[in-house]
Assembly symmetry: D2
Amino acid sequence: MSDPVRVGLIGCGYWGPNLARNLHQIPEAELVACCDLDPQALDRMRMLYPHVITTSDQNDLWGDAGIEAVVIATPARTHYALARAALEADKHVLVEKPLAMSSQEAQALIALAEERQRVLMVGHIFEYHPAVRKIKALMDAGELGQVYYIYSTRVNLGRVQSDVNALWSIAPHDISILIYLLGEMPLSVAAHGGTFLNGVIEDVVFLVLRFPGHVLGHVHVSWLDPSKVRRMTVVGSRRMVVYDDVADEGKIKVYDKGVYRKGEDIYGEFQYRVHSGDIAIPRLDMTEPLRIECTHFAECVRQGRRPQTDGLNGLRVVRVLEAAQASLEQGGVDVSLARG
Amino acid sequence: MSDPVRVGLIGCGYWGPNLARNLHQIPEAELVACCDLDPQALDRMRMLYPHVITTSDQNDLWGDAGIEAVVIATPARTHYALARAALEADKHVLVEKPLAMSSQEAQALIALAEERQRVLMVGHIFEYHPAVRKIKALMDAGELGQVYYIYSTRVNLGRVQSDVNALWSIAPHDISILIYLLGEMPLSVAAHGGTFLNGVIEDVVFLVLRFPGHVLGHVHVSWLDPSKVRRMTVVGSRRMVVYDDVADEGKIKVYDKGVYRKGEDIYGEFQYRVHSGDIAIPRLDMTEPLRIECTHFAECVRQGRRPQTDGLNGLRVVRVLEAAQASLEQGGVDVSLARG
Amino acid sequence: MSDPVRVGLIGCGYWGPNLARNLHQIPEAELVACCDLDPQALDRMRMLYPHVITTSDQNDLWGDAGIEAVVIATPARTHYALARAALEADKHVLVEKPLAMSSQEAQALIALAEERQRVLMVGHIFEYHPAVRKIKALMDAGELGQVYYIYSTRVNLGRVQSDVNALWSIAPHDISILIYLLGEMPLSVAAHGGTFLNGVIEDVVFLVLRFPGHVLGHVHVSWLDPSKVRRMTVVGSRRMVVYDDVADEGKIKVYDKGVYRKGEDIYGEFQYRVHSGDIAIPRLDMTEPLRIECTHFAECVRQGRRPQTDGLNGLRVVRVLEAAQASLEQGGVDVSLARG
Amino acid sequence: MSDPVRVGLIGCGYWGPNLARNLHQIPEAELVACCDLDPQALDRMRMLYPHVITTSDQNDLWGDAGIEAVVIATPARTHYALARAALEADKHVLVEKPLAMSSQEAQALIALAEERQRVLMVGHIFEYHPAVRKIKALMDAGELGQVYYIYSTRVNLGRVQSDVNALWSIAPHDISILIYLLGEMPLSVAAHGGTFLNGVIEDVVFLVLRFPGHVLGHVHVSWLDPSKVRRMTVVGSRRMVVYDDVADEGKIKVYDKGVYRKGEDIYGEFQYRVHSGDIAIPRLDMTEPLRIECTHFAECVRQGRRPQTDGLNGLRVVRVLEAAQASLEQGGVDVSLARG
């Protein structure tokens, strides 16, 4: 096996420690440095990983030739500047979602990574989740028939953000899953939200996404909910799938259910027959998705490959977020994503 | 006790038999006649209630002086004409939801009931549901603090309609609950849907309702879903309630949870503190809501009282449906419900 | 189709009304008479089935030539005398579980039914339950491999009996299912219980049943439990089944799970490998088991067939109950069921 | 704060890494050495804690004056010899459950710890679990009324042992909880088991425990079950508690339920009334119980205090296990625990 990729982590607050743990554990990478503005966060890292360099100055990472790649897990609004600086210092970059706060910024990062010949990857973790990949495999194999609509609920209490709203904070997950599963961009998006806690930032957002072929997507995100729910339902003409990420047993249930037209009644109206068969709960690989993601990043760096969730993938999600934000600001109007 | 109200039932298909059973069982009413166009439906009624008159001609009911009241459980598009005929025959009327297919029709029924001095009631059953009444009591007592938003999911597989879409078929429940709980009409509604089965009728509809005081309502209805879900979440500033109508134990969970502002951080941004306390599952009266509804109707007839879900109550729901339908037809634009 | 069997029901208290409803609804039977000592119970029956004869005197049934069969749903201690009287009056008999309070009584009923050429059936309803039948089919097809053990929990709050203990009141269900699934009698039984409410009658009983081939059965019954649980687990060498009768969706889950020997370790001790594959939730016939049971009874009467749960079947369960009762009274010793 | 206790860990296989992680994280302790016979286990420890001494020779720990205390997480049959050696080397000892394989061994350890003035603690983790402590507090406050019986199910697939059976491997948890909650030893125990995988070692064990005051305990343990279940039910005369350790939300549910005598019926038999009120889900401290346990050990070492789960506590559990093993070997007879 080739040498582990030497990685510096920027941002050791909420999500960063999970990245650190995985980077520390996988043989493909080696966590060599941690950077955070909060000295307590660095203390915690030092206690867990005493051999790791800690610093509150990002420049220490840029100048360290021993660091090949950086992983950025900082507040969303800082992603662009940090990723830019990292690429300019010729580091490979894995940046948490969202890739950036505008498509312009995302495109700039893509161009820069291209120019510097560096890996640019965004942490759309659910594309590495065995459950999501299983659903994708079922869809690609035609098991679900024609996909009618997909809806997703991702709510919880807590992690209230004050720099970005629930759309930018939570919905990147659902948007990236939808684009991944359907294999294409939505044509348009409408967004409705509520700004309850401080009157400015949306705590709750509902998205309606229109995909080609009349496929409908719906997303509900919130950080103001009594229960932790992470559930997605894919309704196809032949089978339906419920993916409950919080379930212990049976994260994915495949329902052999469908509604079929059986003719017309005496008034000339269509009659339907409901078919309701077995339910299957496929066994899933239990590897932690973040471990798969980190390994993939390290392999792409080492082998010069383009990651599954590359800059373009990140840009697509940012474009949808941007359009959804515009819809939010215009009271829920449908915003087109068709390219001009 | 006064004499039982002698009731004729029109429509013995899907929901009608439940009405028949309750009308048969409560001492306040007596089921004396059943009317349906389908002879098999009448056969079933005769087998269960051999003493009951059965007929396929509604005129038999209008002319029968022994029938004081009729209950109408027919397809939605027939409600108006049947209720009108019943009132013109001086019968008291309980009509299933929706009261009518337009606010104009609903207003005409209200006027006619007024003129004929008859009870006009609509079967918004959830206003008689002990769970919904309990939530209302908690809200009225200030237990939830300020209500931020309420969202509802009412989906299932089956009962595909060919005369009305999922909005008119299912959403009247959610709309009537929202208006009941919040005690006022929404200011506007936006609706998004998908017409998967036949390309014309919406199988799935999402509603966004804006109430006074920045309260947000969201409704998801569908007859194209793998699982039966009937869940409503009320998010307040002090407590949150989840009402799961499908749960065996604990249909209502009251979460002592809230998010409180705890000051500003060093960047001047608001910081929030999540409070997460006990969960309470209040005991509920286990009486079947339909029994409560039927008893209420009979008592209103006998005592000349105005029912909780009177014609005006039915009109309010129809007005929201009408606006939502207009929004659906205009691609999801916000339709105002403010009176001209 | 042949004429419906004319049936009289004795016992209209707790379970009787369910029998009445099914006997009323199936075309194979006709409910013609109801008998109970409680006038209010008869009032309720008359209200639901105005055409039915009601009486508080069982002799009215014995002497009525229009009654071909009786269904007995009275307290357990009265089963024997009533079934005996019914058979002596040449009625076919369906008696609720347990068939009798001793194997001697059960044998006497079998002999009498033989002599009078009448159908004698016991209401071991779970043998007519599609879920139990599905498990039986999986076992018979070898899908589970070698069956190791089966355990069952059937607890609830309420239905506290003062004539019989939880063993005789609840455990007949579990015992009949175990004998049905395994196709043989246990070799021995040990029973442990607690008499909490009145110091004499067991409210809670645990049974340990030893079947041929080292198969182990365990049963936990109680009427003193906070939750309604009706769950049975069948552990086989190749697959395992959980049957949760209270579940809305997926009463039966078939786990592709097993433990396999993979050799010995360096100390000569066996090493095991756990296999954990997919879970399947087979679709089940949704017919009410009591309806299947009632139909089966009527068909056996009309066609002169021996029912699946005939007198001998009832005797087997009584013999296990008898042995378990003896164990209870001797502090839990193992009581053999081998024939002397 | 005083200096952290310098700890050596023996046994880095299944449970050891959890101990290592907690010992590493709490400020009250410092993990300084790891010992295991398996070089791969040591490799993993070294990777996670590069500063820690690793060795396959326990003598390296005994002779190291820098090690004040050892934590023993090895197979059960080795506990006694290792704990003995540690105490003889004047180390404080935390040994995983069971403390030893016989009461004689346990007593010898207690005497030795006394003699050497060292802390001897056993890892009965559930006595440190906030859920169990909450139940204890409810019981002590009389909230449950008179406790009738407690039953526990602790089953899973896997962790098949070849040195000890499911009784010694799993049931120590349940036995320690029962003794802790009820505050006294059982009077007797009966045990029934099944040896399915290799014909010698019990994979499944059922225990019946009789406590003073007619309180009944029942325990079901197994490593041969399709689902992970860890549930305990406490039935009291006034309230009942279900503790589901696998539940995400609401590990403890307190049911305001009870059965009350309401007099006698016309036959002189007792009549009962079921009371069924609210359910409460109290908020629990979310600290990992193992962290509480490790902190308690370190504090006892530093402050010279006797731990809650001291040697005597460990002995009590071993005495019950011993009696249960005797019962198993005698086919389930009741084995008395009264002192001679």
